[in-house]
Amino acid sequence: MNNTERFKHIILQHQPSMQRMAEYLLHDETIAEDAVQDALVDLWKQRDDLLKANNSEAYCILLVKRRCIDILRKRHSEQPLDEQSLIETEPPPDDREARYQQAMRMVAKMPEMQRKVILMKYEQAKTTQEISKELGISTTNLYTTLSRAISNLRKMMSHEE
């Protein structure tokens, strides 16, 4: 595996925690995504150090925090920032991954058409027109199928409780 592939592997591995840290500091998913991309450029420039680092996750998180502090400094130019505490801060544990795994277990039990509609609508973020065209069904039929899929999920959650 060459250095570029190793770099990609490290970024893929730590990107979720980098994104979560940026969202926690900036309270905005879109701006957090920009901060992570900027941090990626910094990591690329220092890739030799990153590849040699013992704790690559800490290295990545540190660079993301620095980028977030730069954004916060511009945002709050009149108020002094406690940069040291921001560097030391850690986000609360995120249970989104656990909820996603639970959702996938339930979606796998649905009929095929309902499963496809739920995944295309929420995971792939496709529009109603795109889904109905791809599945070859009318928009009315699509709305009906989606409604049934959500009812099915509700029932499964009630049974689990």
Binding site: E29, E123, M157
Partner: protein
Amino acid sequence: MKNKNTEQQLEQMLESIAAHGRNVRRQERLMEQIDRMAAAKKRRRLWPYWTAVAAAASVALVLLWQPSDQEYAAEEGSKRVELPDDKKSIVPEEPIYTASAAIQKSIPTFPEEIPEVSAEETAFEFSGHEEAPEPVCDEKATEQPHETEVPHVVEIKTNSLVAYSNKKERSKQKAPIKDLLGNPLPESNYLLAINFKTAGRLIQSDLE
């Protein structure tokens, strides 16, 4: 409350599916960005070689398109006006606009008969003073120019003097052929500009 709790959990579950999808697309964009940065790094490493290749290709193209000396001379020669036959033997047949053609071509010699100048015309008293003698004027040189075409330039054996005869000037001033020092020369002596490029321009300007 249970329904509200269920609804809240359902909403969070659907949001977790959406967030996972957004993150997948985010990772795809990051991978594309890494590929672009890696490609840019590779381009930066190779640009000196590509620059050298482009420069060599440009030079090769220029050399290929540039006409050779013979092609250039042939093109310029087509613009030349034909001289009468009696003067062609003196003036080289081929245009001599290029140095290479002139060097290759044999240089015509002076006519064998050189008009003699009488002793009275050439005699002068050397007074012992360091004065330059007055130039000797050849009577024949002051005569009206022949009606037949006189070559404008002729080769001279020695390279020390370069002169030319301007037909317009001569007809206007009725002056003999003179060298650059102002010394008149017999009409039978013809001079050719040693600087072949100058000759080309002179001949061209005379013929126009």
